[in-house]
C-alpha cells in the first residue's frame, strides 16, 4: 500500500475507522484519559482501563464538549473541548498509521451524525494541527456515507428503494435511498428519520430487555417498511453487531427482501468516498442529494463575449461546507445582482433572488467591478458578499460592501 485512504465515523460514544483495502475496522470508544503518573494521554479501551484502575481521569462525549465550547478540568488543568478532540484524533490517526508505517495519508473522510458547522470547523482545525492538508480532509454526513456504501454494491442492491436501520447507544435512525435516472445524470436522493423509539444497548444484556427491544424494532419496521418495495435493507451500528437478540425483527425485514448487516457501514462508506477523491473520473457518477449536500443550484446570468450564459456559484449535490466561489463581474447598467435558484427536482421552476446594490457609488455603465463571494452557513443558508472593486485608477474602489443571507 503506497497511500492511506481513511474513513472515520466519529460519534459521541464510539469511533469506527476503516482503511480502503483492509477488511477489518477499528471500533474505539470516543473517550480520552490522562494518566496521573506519567501525564500521558490514552484513548478508547486503554482509557477505560486506566480509569477503572484509578490511574487516570477520563473525559467522554468529546464531540458535544467541543460543540458547546465546553471544558474539562483534569489534575487542576482546564482543557478546552476542541483541544481534547484534537488530542483524541491525533491518537486515533497515530493508531491507524502505526499499522502502515511510512505510508502518507492520501485522503481522510470523517463521517458525522450531525453536520454542525462548529464541529466541522473544529475538525478542520484538528487536521491543521496534525499537519494534514485541508485539501485531503473532507467531512460527510452519515447519510452520504450510507449512499456511498450502498452505491458501491452491485446495481441490483440499489436498483429500487433501499432502507437502513442504524442502532447505536445514542439513537435509532432510519435511512432511505432512491436512485433516480434523470435525462442527463442519475440522482441519489437519501434522507433519514430520527426515531423516538431509541433505547440503550444495555437492555440487550437481559433476555427480557432483548425481547422488548425486538418488539420496538418490529413496530418501527411495520410502520416504515410496509407498502414499499425495497431492493435491500441494511442494518448498521453497534446494536446490529449481532442480530440474534431480534429474531422477530429479522424475520420481518428478511421477508422477500435482501438484508445486509454491516456494523461499520458509515466508516466504510467514508473510506469509499475518500478513495473516490483520488480517482481521475468518479466511480460514483451521481448527484447525491442528502444531508450535508446542497439541494439547489445557485447560478447567475452573465455576459461572456456577447453571449448570455449562466454560471453556477454552487451546484446541487455539492457539500455545503466546502461549497464556496468567488467571481468578478462588471456592471453594465445593472443596479442589482440576480441569483437564479433551481432544484434538480424541478429544474424548470426557477426562484429569483435580487440583491440591490444599495450604497454602491453611481458610475457610468461598465465602470464598476464587483466581487461576488458565496459560502454557506448550513445547507439552506447561503451568504453572499458583494464588494465594490471600482475600475482601476479610472474609478477608484470604495468601501461599499453588502452581506446578505439567502435561503436556498
Amino acid at each position: 500500500m503506497d497511500k492511506l485512504i481513511i474513513g472515520i465515523d466519529l460519534c459521541d460514544a464510539y469511533t469506527q475507522a476503516a482503511v480502503a483495502g483492509r477488511d477489518e475496522t477499528w471500533v474505539i470508544p470516543t473517550v480520552i484519559c490522562r494518566k496521573k503518573t506519567d501525564g500521558g494521554w490514552y484513548v478508547g479501551e486503554e482509557a477505560y482501563k486506566y480509569t477503572l484502575m484509578g490511574e487516570g481521569v477520563i473525559v467522554d462525549k468529546l464531540l458535544s464538549l467541543a460543540v458547546k465550547d465546553g471544558t474539562a478540568t483534569i489534575s487542576s488543568v482546564k482543557y478546552q473541548g476542541a483541544e481534547l478532540l484534537r488530542m483524541y484524533m491525533e491518537r486515533i490517526l497515530a493508531m491507524i498509521r502505526a499499522e502502515y508505517p511510512g505510508v502518507p495519508v492520501a485522503q481522510l473522510v470523517i463521517s458525522l451524525e450531525n453536520m454542525e458547522m462548529k464541529l466541522m470547523d473544529c475538525l478542520m482545525g484538528c487536521a491543521d494541527a496534525l499537519g494534514i492538508s485541508r485539501d485531503l480532509v473532507h467531512i460527510a454526513s452519515h447519510t452520504e456515507c450510507f449512499v456511498y456504501y450502498v452505491l458501491s454494491q452491485k446495481r441490483d442492491v440499489w436498483g429500487g428503494q433501499v432502507g437502513m436501520f442504524s442502532l447505536s447507544d445514542e439513537a435509532l435512525r432510519y435511512y432511505e435511498l432512491k436512485v433516480v435516472q434523470g435525462p442527463r445524470q442519475m440522482t441519489a436522493w437519501a434522507e433519514h428519520e430520527d426515531l423516538e423509539e431509541g433505547f440503550s444497548l444495555n437492555v440487550l444484556d437481559s433476555p427480557s430487555g432483548a425481547r422488548m427491544a425486538d418488539q420496538i424494532l418490529c413496530a418501527c419496521g411495520e410502520r416504515l417498511l410496509q407498502k414499499k418495495l425495497y431492493s435491500s435493507i441494511f442494518l448498521t451500528g453497534k446494536g446490529f453487531g449481532r442480530t440474534d437478540w431480534a429474531p422477530e425483527f429479522m424475520k420481518q425485514v428478511c421477508h422477500r427482501r435482501r438484508v445486509f448487516a454491516e456494523p461499520s457501514l458509515f466508516a466504510r462508506g467514508a473510506a469509499l468516498k475518500a478513495g473516490d477523491y483520488l480517482e481521475e473520473r468518479s466511480s460514483y457518477p451521481f448527484v447525491c442529494l442528502c444531508e450535508g449536500k446542497l439541494r439547489s443550484t445557485v447560478a447567475m446570468e452573465v455576459m461572456k463575449r456577447d453571449s448570455r450564459i449562466q454560471i453556477a456559484l454552487a451546484s446541487a449535490g455539492e457539500s455545503w461546507y466546502e461549497a464556496r466561489s468567488v467571481l468578478e463581474v462588471i456592471l453594465d447598467g445593472q443596479e442589482e445582482i440576480e441569483l437564479i435558484i433551481t432544484s434538480p427536482q424541478n429544474p424548470k421552476q426557477k426562484r429569483l433572488v435580487r440583491i440591490p446594490l444599495e450604497g454602491f457609488p453611481k458610475r457610468p455603465p461598465k465602470t464598476t467591478r464587483v466581487r461576488i463571494a458565496v459560502g454557506f452557513l448550513d445547507e439552506r443558508t447561503m451568504v453572499v458578499k458583494i464588494v465594490d472593486r471600482g475600475f482601476g485608477e479610472l474609478f477608484p474602489k470604495t468601501d461599499a460592501e453588502i452581506r446578505q443571507e439567502v435561503r436556498v
Binding site: 448570455r308 463581474v329 456592471l331 479610472l394
Partner: protein
C-alpha cells in the same frame, strides 16, 4: 442591462497612460481608455510597449502577436484599436460599430480641424502646455493655408486660455488680442478683461479698452466675484484652510505636501 464576466488577469506591472495619469490593471480598463479617449489613442497609442503588456500581463499572446506583425508590416493604424476592442469583446458589436464611425468621422476632418480637436481634448485633460504647443502648430502651419479668420480666432482664443491656466498672463493677453484681430468677439474681450482682474499690472490695449464701454462689464464683474467666492469655498482652498487650522508642526508638514502636489500638477500641465 447585464453583468459582464471578468477574465482572470493578475496584472503585476500595470500599464501607465501618462496623459491620463493612470495605471491600467485590466483589459477592461484598456478597452475603456480606447473607447472613451479616441483622440488620445488614435496617434501612436498602440505600440510595442502596449503589445508587451498584452502578452505578459494580460495573457493575450495571440492578440499581441497580431498587433506586432501588423505594426512591422503596415505601421500603426486605427484597425489595431478595433482589433483590441474586438478581441476583448468588452464592448458589444453595436458599441464597436459606433466607435468605428466615431473614429472614421474624426479621420474625415481636415488636418487642422483634427489637430484642434486633439488640442481641445488635451486641454480638457488639463495638459495645457501640450495643447498650447498644438494650437501654435496649427497657427504656424496654417500661415500659408486658407484658414478662416473665425477658425484662427478660435485657436488664438484657446491658446490664450492655455496660457491663462499656465499663469502666463501676458502671453494670454497677447493671444486674446490676436484672436480679436482675427475676428472681433465679445468672448475674447471678456478673456482680456478677466486677465486684468487676475493680474492688475496687465493692461488692455486702448482700442480694446474703448470697446469695453459697450459691454456688460458689470455682469462680468459679478461672474468673476462669484467664481472667486466659489473657489474659496471648495477644493484646494478648503483643504489649505484645514491645514492652516492645525497646530504649527502639522501645518508645515501639510503645507509641504500640498506644495509638492501643486508642483506635480503644474509639471503635468506643462
Amino acid at each position: 442591462m447585464s453583468l459582464i464576466l471578468c477574465r482572470q488577469e493578475p496584472v503585476t506591472s500595470p500599464y501607465f497612460v501618462e496623459e491620463l495619469g493612470v495605471h491600467l490593471y485590466s483589459s477592461q480598463e484598456l478597452n475603456y481608455v480606447i473607447y472613451h479617449h479616441p483622440l488620445l489613442v488614435m496617434e501612436d497609442f498602440v505600440n510595442e510597449r502596449l503589445a508587451a503588456f498584452l502578452r505578459t500581463e494580460l495573457r493575450l499572446p495571440f492578440l499581441a502577436e497580431r498587433i506586432q506583425k501588423w505594426i512591422q508590416s503596415r505601421g500603426p493604424s486605427d484597425e489595431l484599436l478595433f482589433l483590441i476592442l474586438q478581441d476583448c469583446a468588452f464592448y458589444t458589436q453595436a458599441e464597436q460599430a459606433a466607435y468605428r464611425q466615431k473614429v472614421a468621422g474624426l479621420r474625415k476632418l481636415s488636418s487642422h480641424e483634427y489637430e484642434k480637436k486633439r488640442a481641445d481634448y488635451f486641454y480638457s485633460l488639463g495638459l495645457y502646455g501640450r495643447s498650447a504647443s498644438m494650437y501654435k502648430r496649427i497657427l504656424d502651419n496654417g500661415e500659408g493655408r486658407s484658414l478662416s479668420h473665425e477658425f484662427r480666432g478660435k485657436v488664438w482664443n484657446n491658446l490664450g486660455a492655455c496660457y491663462g491656466e499656465l499663469f502666463s498672463f501676458q502671453k494670454a493677453m497677447d493671444a486674446y488680442v490676436c484672436a480679436w484681430n482675427e475676428k472681433p468677439e465679445a468672448a475674447y474681450l471678456k478673456g482680456m478683461y478677466f486677465l486684468t482682474k487676475l493680474d492688475p499690472e496687465l493692461s488692455m490695449k486702448d482700442r480694446c479698452r474703448e470697446l469695453l464701454a459697450s459691454q456688460d462689464t458689470e455682469g462680468w464683474d459679478r461672474e468673476f466675484n462669484e467664481a472667486l467666492v466659489r473657489a474659496g469655498q471648495t477644493g484646494p482652498a478648503v483643504r489649505l484652510q484645514e491645514i492652516f487650522d492645525r497646530d504649527p508642526e502639522k501645518r508645515l508638514e501639510g503645507a509641504a505636501k500640498v506644495l509638492n502636489q501643486w508642483k506635480l500638477e503644474y509639471r503635468k500641465m506643462l
